[in-house]
């Protein structure tokens, strides 16, 4: 017993140690320790974010340096606080509290004292900097906008949020990332790839050299330049015209599907969301719940399209063979649904397709619409056929553009109405409003522009897109170079386009002709209602216009939607006409027209429903 005592104790100790070490090193060990290892710090080397150019190679977005004043609290020597504060443009209380925050964070590590000094402040400060030990200036890169336009299209970059941190291992807290627009859509192209250095730290968090001699380190890969399809000048001009108006404008090049302009009113200067004032400006824009400047109306607003939609009903009727261009309907200054007369502004009389379009006759299209449904034994079948044609124009669903946001619009189908009215309890006459683009139809300005492009191409469209070229290779997603064919045969387009061209010759837009350019277009005037304090109120009609030009070799297709702009040829027609002239001729000859658009605003219309007073709608302005 006494001889074995010590030996047994040694063996027992040995097993105890082995047990404990197995627990620590085998059971508790996890292979991704390196991620939480306090001894290894990753330092990132950020490449420059890629520039953004317009379709002609004009710079739209670049980078600018910004200067952060940094402090290492432990190294700070007594200083002339007053002078320093004056140079930094802050008061003493701010300075003291920021110093305390920095000291609390770490006396040994740098903290930001004043972020993003302007170039001017930096110049002043730089020569005095040597008097202030413990402070230094750190350069960083911010976005620079070479335009005051296209804020919503370009988007902005801002710090990654927690959700992204959790779901995307690439990002580290505090990094910048594109959050809207092109910055978001092409984030990976623009940002490049940051370089990583692994630094071995000691327990005071000081660097003590590279980890594993830098074998795990990587070099930064610069971001790609991208060229987008916007025409900078057209975009800027369009935004000027939209001054004081709410709505959306989209211009597309029909033969490529490239988006030439995407304007939302009201808009803002993209530079507002860069620099020291960013968060203040962002709150202002974001919380403006009435004008909603950050809500891109060109792709998110989904008004009823109104009369431009008649052109599609005409095409469908031709394709279905239920009318010919010569088929006529009589307009009784309106048309009868049962015993009710629904009004029409065309002037009445007998209409064929040509005059039905250019005079925008409701009665004609109600007749056409009925004929489409009459062809089929049941309303359901008629609805299916009609819906299929409509959707082939990119309506009633997402278009699949390379914009990070969008709206589907709406083409109602039979299930929709079955739910609404009950199964089998509706017919073509019930939904007759669809014939003139009102009712349950909804489309974004982008969808309208795309539909117009499909008409301009006589039967197909390219998915609208904003990207033209990425980096040196230039390759973009092949789905943007494949045509999407509509269900309408090419031959049926000519009579409809003729009608649209006559809109400018004899019709609703005859005052908007551009000398030397043949345009085909269609006005729209859309009734709209709001609910204020639970009361349904009608507001001044939305002004809608779609057109393309030149008729024989279309270069541009445009959809303009102006909230409460009254009839289509007013605001929307004017703006569309000026944009076409600008794009095709490069200059404006009709300066009176231009002046009117630049000066007129609709602020008074927008104020009406909020005034609390009774108001009149659809008043004549000129």
């Amino acid at each position: 017993m006494k001889k074995l005592l010590l030996s047994s104790i040694i063996v027992i100790i040995g097993f105890t140690f082995i047990g404990r070490l197995s627990y620590l090193q085998l059971f508790r060990f996890s292979p991704d320790q390196i991620l939480e290892d306090p001894a290894i710090k990753k330092i990132y080397d950020y490449p420059e974010r890629g520039y953004i150019y317009d379709r002609d190679g004009k710079l739209m977005v670049g980078n600018q340096p910004a200067y952060d004043v940094m402090v290492i609290p432990r190294e700070v020597k007594p200083l002339d606080t007053l002078e320093f504060c004056t140079l930094l443009g802050i008061d003493k209380a701010t300075f003291v509290s920021k110093m305390n925050v920095a000291r609390h964070y770490s006396p040994r590590l740098p903290s930001v004292l004043v972020p993003q000094l302007s170039k001017e402040d930096y110049a002043k400060l730089q020569e005095k900097m040597r008097h202030f030990t413990g402070f230094y200036i750190q350069k960083r890169s911010l976005r620079y906008y070479n335009t005051h336009s296209a804020a919503n299209v370009l988007g902005y970059i801002s710090e990654v949020n927690e959700w992204e941190l959790k779901n995307n291992p690439y990002y580290v807290a505090g990094e910048l990332k594109g959050h809207t627009g092109i910055e978001k859509q092409y984030e990976e192209e623009l940002r490049g790839r940051k370089g990583v250095k692994h630094i071995q730290k000691d327990r005071f968090n000081r660097d003590i050299g590279p980890y594993k001699e830098g074998r795990l380190d990587t070099l930064p890969m610069p971001g790609n330049e991208i060229q987008i399809t916007l025409d900078k000048e057209l975009q800027e001009y369009g935004e000027q015209l939209m001054h004081g108006k709410r709505g959306g404008v989209v211009a597309i090049e029909p033969k490529t599907g490239e988006i030439l302009a995407m304007i939302s009113g009201p808009t803002y200067d993209p530079a507002l969301l860069v620099g020291r004032e960013r968060s203040k400006n962002y709150s202002k824009l974001h919380y403006d719940s009435i004008a909603k400047p950050t809500w891109d109306r060109s792709i998110l607003a989904q008004p009823s399209p109104g009369s431009p939609f008649k052109t599609l009903n005409a095409l469908i009727a031709l394709q279905e063979g239920v009318v010919t261009p010569e088929t006529t309907f009589r307009c009784y200054h309106g048309f009868y649904v049962g015993n009710t007369l629904r009004g029409c502004h065309c002037g009445g009389g007998i209409k064929n397709m040509n005059s039905g379009i250019y005079e925008s006759c409701n009665a004609y299209f109600a007749g056409v619409f009925r004929k489409i449904y009459e062809k089929y034994p049941t309303t359901d079948q008629g609805m299916d056929a009609w819906e299929k044609h409509m959707k082939s124009f990119g309506l009633g669903g997402y278009l699949g553009t390379d914009l990070p946001t969008g709206a589907p619009g709406r083409i109602p189908d039979k299930t929709y109405y079955d739910k609404w009215y009950g199964d089998g309890r509706w017919a073509a006459s019930t939904i007759i409003s669809n014939s003139i683009g009102q009712g349950e139809i909804a489309a974004t300005p982008l969808q309208l522009a795309n539909m117009t492009a499909a008409i301009a191409n006589r039967g197909y469209f390219y998915t609208p897109h904003i990207i033209k070229k990425i980096g040196g290779s230039g390759a973009i997603d092949p789905k943007y170079t494949e045509p999407n064919y509509t269900t309408i045969d090419r031959k049926h387009f000519d009579p409809v386009i003729e009608g649209m061209a006559n809109v400018y010759q004899y019709g609703t837009a005859k005052w908007l002709k551009i000398p030397g350019v043949d345009i085909a277009g269609k006005t729209g005037t859309v009734e709209n209602f709001v609910r204020i304090d639970g009361e349904r109120m009608q507001l001044t009609d939305h002004s809608v216009f779609v057109c393309f030009a030149p008729v024989e070799n279309p270069q541009i297709a445009i959809a303009v939607y102006i909230e409460n702009g009254y009839f289509g040829a007013r605001y929307a027609g004017h703006i569309a006409s000026l944009l076409i002239e600008k794009y095709i001729n490069g200059e404006i000859t009709r300066t009176d027209l231009e002046k009117k658009m630049l000066e007129k605003t609709l602020e008074h219309e927008y104020a009406k429903p909020y005034s609390g007073e009774p108001f009149k709608i659809n008043q004549r302005e000129w």
């Binding site: 040995g14 140690f17 620590l24 060990f29 001894a39």
Partner: protein, 427 residues
């Protein structure tokens, strides 16, 4: 083996195990103290350079030991002991204070720690006393003498303060147990430790209830033929309860807060998560970092010189008391197992050597050596891997430190010298 010369009959297995342990220890000191600017391993301004130098001195000391007549140690053991006691006393006047403990003499090139020397001397003196033909350990008087020999240096070291080293002297009780000191004393000691820990964890009331239930269980399930008298059992329970009560008194009034915190951490007494975090950051910081470092090594370790926490100096005192955490981080489970196995084999080999001695003195000294080494090993690694509270003792042959390495080597090689001469015993 020819039996001629100083190395003739030395136990080469022990020597090789010793060299392996010193080598592995040095490798880890190298890793913990290497900085990027360092060049040669013989650079004596670095810790690993110095340790190499100390090893050189240790080798000289070993050679000296091997050339000395083996009965020299037995004959002069009383004098060694008295010199050590004098040196320990002298510390109160001439001692040099390092890190709050007055444990060193400044010899210019070298700080001498007499408590290390005293371990050798006490082991020798105890062996000398016990092997005396007139000593009978079964008598109270001689038990008292033996206790005085052991406890005198411990008492002198305690106020330095160096409770760790002081505690080490208690290991010499194992020599007494080997020589006939009743083993149930060890049992009583273990019961006291158990009572101490359980009282802190559950309180006197629950401990008392537990003891009574235990006694009842024993009476219920014992064989009918076995008679256990009631009175001593009741007496034992009462004494235990009194002890349990005194534990609370001692813990609250004799211990300082830092000691209480160590126990709080060790026995998971503190339930308040915030306070626990605070303790972890202060008193438990070393243990926490050391456990983390060992844990992060996994099965294979991060590789030599690749231990990030070792390089970053995250474990304080890593080159001295916490050297084993570097083994854990850089060499992983394989490394720690190797070291544990080497130590175990080494100790068992030494016990084997001790048991084969013909001379009582040699055997008793051998047991002294083994007890001291095992105690260091147990307390040190137990602390580093978080099984024991923080008690500052070095890991023999591993930890950085001149006095430690040199005197551990002397301690061992005096025994190996005695062993090599065992056939000539009885002169």
């Amino acid at each position: 083996m020819s039996g001629k010369g100083p190395f003739g009959r030395i136990d080469w297995i022990s020597v090789i195990l010793y060299l392996l342990l010193v080598f592995i220890g040095w490798i880890n000191i190298y890793s913990t103290s290497l900085t990027d600017s360092d060049g040669s391993i013989f650079d004596f301004s670095t810790l690993y350079g110095k340790q190499l130098f100390f090893f050189g001195i240790a080798v000289l000391g070993i050679i000296l030991v091997l050339f000395v007549e083996s009965n020299f140690f037995e004959r002069f053991s009383s004098i060694f002991y008295m010199v050590s006691i004098a040196l320990l006393l002298g510390l109160f006047v001439f001692g040099k204070t390092i890190a709050g403990a007055t444990s060193w003499y400044n010899l210019g090139f070298f700080n001498l720690q007499p408590s290390e020397l005293a371990k050798v001397a006490t082991a020798l003196a105890l062996a000398k006393f016990l092997s005396d033909i007139q000593t009978d350990i079964r008598t109270r008087k001689h038990q008292m003498y033996a206790l005085v020999i052991i406890l005198l240096p411990a008492l002198l070291i305690l106020p330095q303060p160096d409770p760790g080293s002081s505690l080490i002297y208690f290991s010499l009780f194992f020599v007494l147990f080997r020589e006939g000191f009743p083993i149930y004393y060890l049992g009583i000691l273990l019961v006291m430790v158990a009572l101490f820990a359980t009282t802190l964890m559950f309180g006197t009331v629950w401990v008392s209830i537990g003891l009574v239930i235990l006694a009842l269980l024993i009476y219920t399930f014992k064989k009918a033929s076995v008679k256990i008298p009631i009175l001593p059992v009741v007496g034992a329970i009462i004494v235990s309860i009194l002890f349990s009560l005194s534990v609370n008194l001692v813990f609250e009034h004799v211990f300082e807060q830092r000691h209480r915190d160590r126990f709080a951490l060790w026995l998971s007494l503190e339930k308040d998560e915030k306070k626990l975090e605070e303790i972890r950051k202060t008193i438990g910081y070393n243990t926490y970092q050391s456990e983390k470092a060992i844990e992060s090594g996994g099965f294979f370790g991060k590789g030599f010189l690749e231990g990030t926490r070792t390089k970053g100096d995250f474990v304080p005192e890593q080159h001295t008391d916490y050297i084993f955490s570097s083994v854990g981080e850089e060499w992983g489970f394989l490394g720690t197992m190797t070291v544990i196995l080497l130590f175990s084999i080494f100790f068992l080999r030494l016990i084997h050597l001790a048991e084969r001695q013909k001379s009582d003195f040699s055997r008793m000294y051998g047991y002294g050596v083994i007890s001291i080494l095992v105690f260091h090993y147990f307390i040190n690694i137990g602390m580093v891997i978080g099984l024991l509270p923080t008690i500052g003792v070095p890991l023999p042959f591993f930890s950085y430190g001149g006095s430690g390495l040199i005197f551990f080597s002397m301690l061992l090689f005096i025994f190996l010298k005695l062993d090599s001469n065992r056939l000539k015993d009885g002169i």
